[in-house]
């Protein structure tokens, strides 16, 4: 085995197969946004603190700005674009709107992925468990009040 | 940021002075030095990749001898340019004969600019201490070689 600076990778994103050649240095978030044109996931910082880039990789919630695209070789990736089946909002997305859990919507994709990961593991989380599940997702508009309420509403 | 200290060398002052003033020997004391070119006896430039554990910080550093009183005192100015880091450093050495060798009092005033400085604040001091201890260790080796060589 020798080291390479470019690599062809295949990934499954929201059920669709993609094969692309990428630089090793390309971050997964840039690969998703720029190469695959799935611009739902966002970038809000350059130190891995804000969580706007959160996606699920093989069912595990990660910040895609702290992974290289080549590390996602062969993985099954879920992004916000995959949550609603044919434009029908799922319960979590509907609850975010009903409870005004988003204002500018920039952190919302990351918040939805974190909440999705939480609810898959724990159907009835306490408020503290909810806050802990989105601790890695910064929001500057809502003060988190309605986001916690929206997740509570879906888990009740 | 000011850093200073003292160091004992088991070698006569003249030997320590000779090493300190020979850019080629001083080059060997610098961590991660890759290349070294000497313009004249007062100016030389070093290309270094300072090993920072997680990777190297590439910098080209221009040294200039500011002041010199053989064999007791020397003052150097160093200006380093790297990516995301600009280094301005003034260092001075005082050599005093002591029984069994030479006592060197040194001090350095380090000004670091750019993103590396603003993000690395809390690790800066420990890293500088690490680099200084490596330089002094290497300097000791050079002095021993000069003494026996």
């Amino acid at each position: 085995m020798e080291t390479v600076s470019r690599k062809t990778i295949t990934v499954d994103v929201n059920g669709e197969q993609y094969e692309r050649e990428v630089d090793v240095r390309r971050l997964l978030i840039h690969f998703i946004r720029d190469d695959l044109d799935l611009t739902g996931s966002h970038i809000g910082c350059d130190t891995g603190n804000c969580g706007a880039c959160s996606v699920l990789v093989d069912g595990v919630l990660v910040k895609s700005c702290m992974m290289l695209a080549v590390q996602a070789e062969g993985a099954k990736i879920e992004t916000v674009e995959g949550l609603a089946a044919e434009g029908e909002l799922n319960d979590l997305q509907q609850a975010f709107s009903d409870h005004h859990a988003l204002q500018c919507g920039y952190c919302t994709p990351g918040m939805l992925m974190s909440a999705t990961a939480l609810l898959r593991e724990n159907k009835t989380p306490s408020e503290d468990e909810i806050r802990k599940s989105i601790q890695g997702n910064i929001c500057r508009c809502t003060g988190y009040v309605n986001i916690v309420e929206a997740i509570q509403a879906v888990s009740r | 940021m000011k850093v200073s200290g003292e160091r004992q060398f088991e070698a006569p002052r003249a030997t320590v002075w000779e090493v300190l003033n020979d850019p080629a020997q001083m080059a060997k004391t610098m961590p991660g030095v890759e290349s070294f070119d000497i313009q004249d006896d007062r100016h030389w430039r070093a290309h270094v990749k300072i090993p920072l554990g997680l990777g190297g910080l590439r910098m080209s550093i221009d040294f200039e001898k500011m002041e010199e009183r053989e064999p007791e005192f020397a003052k150097l100015h160093a200006k380093g340019n790297g990516v995301g880091a600009v280094l301005n450093m003034d260092t001075s050495f005082n050599l005093v004969e002591a029984e069994g060798g030479t006592n060197m009092k040194w001090e350095a005033e380090v000004h670091l600019l750019g993103p590396v400085a603003s993000m690395g604040q809390r690790v800066l001091q420990p890293i500088v201490n690490q680099q200084v201890s490596q330089v002094l260790g290497a300097l000791d080796k050079q002095v021993q070689e000069a003494k026996t060589g």
Binding site: R25, G48, L68, Q71, S114, A117 | L52, G53, G55, G120
Partner: protein
């Protein structure tokens, strides 16, 4: 946010990883990447080659030995530790891992990556020193064990040198441990953290983090307040200054938190 050119390989075994690390001068192991990738984004320090350890199965997993010793593979994530039944043999481990950053970081960040990056504000270096863990390092010339207290050498520098890999961390059994910290905000980066362990049999072990390049190990005469305060004062700590705290404030917090960590440890038989 945009990395420099870098080479990459993803070996399937420790041996293959060692060969690649040895063959490439500027190579670094890539574990969870939760520190290394950020450092590379800032282009502050960039390795030339990344050896991704993700496919090396032997580096994962948590085993509880018959004598109660816990063996953790270097690539075990914080989340693995938090959810592991075996790891409850040393409860402080999961409790502290659960304070590190957030879910996303805990899902990818590894215990090996945490200790090998040895950022002065990390939680695990002082904890592993206090509870007397042992690190297993593998190099071209075989395997050796290094006690945690001698593993940490400097900022981002440990006993695992270039061309070597940390493969395993062994934690002796025990319950009466404590960990106290002042983080920036809730569960943020630590301003000061202190780990304490009382069941080494040889009296209390205290390790103070964030006050030097490496954890500062202290062994106070007893768990009494004055003894603990004396030990911290005699260590004459010289903490770095940064925007969150002055040297004086860190020195003061080290004392207060040492008392609280020891009290917590004493309360947990």
């Amino acid at each position: 946010m945009l990395l420099r050119e870098v080479e990459y390989a993803r070996p399937a075994s420790v041996q293959e990883a060692l060969r690649l690390l040895g063959a490439n001068e500027g190579a670094r192991a890539l574990a969870g990447g939760q520190t290394l990738i950020n450092v590379m984004k800032a282009r502050a320090a960039s390795p030339d080659v990344l050896i991704d350890l993700a496919d090396i199965g032997e580096l994962r997993g948590i085993e509880l030995g018959a004598d109660g010793t816990l063996e953790l593979g270097a690539m075990t994530t914080y989340t693995d530790i938090i959810n592991s039944a075996e790891a409850r043999a040393r409860p402080i481990l999961g409790e502290v891992c659960n304070q590190i950053a957030d879910v996303q970081v805990r899902n990818r960040g590894t215990i090996g990556g945490n200790v090998c990056s040895n950022d002065p504000t990390n939680h695990l270096p002082p904890l592993l020193v206090a509870i007397g863990a042992t690190m297993t390092i593998v190099g071209q010339d075989g395997e050796r064990s290094v006690p945690a207290a001698e593993f940490f050498l400097g900022v981002y520098m440990t006993a695992a040198g270039p061309g070597e890999l940390l493969t395993k961390i062994s934690v002796p059994p025990g319950k009466s441990d404590g960990f106290a910290s002042v983080p920036i905000g809730k569960e943020g980066t630590c301003i000061v953290n202190v780990a304490a362990s009382l069941n080494g049999g040889a009296g209390a072990r205290l390790a103070i983090g964030c006050v030097d390049a490496v954890p500062v190990l202290l062994t106070p005469d007893s768990t009494e307040g004055d003894a603990v305060r004396k030990a911290v004062r005699e260590a004459n700590l010289d903490p770095p200054w940064d925007v969150h705290a002055s040297a004086d404030y860190r020195r003061h917090l080290a004392e207060v938190l040492a008392l609280r960590a020891v009290a917590q440890a004493a309360g947990r038989k």
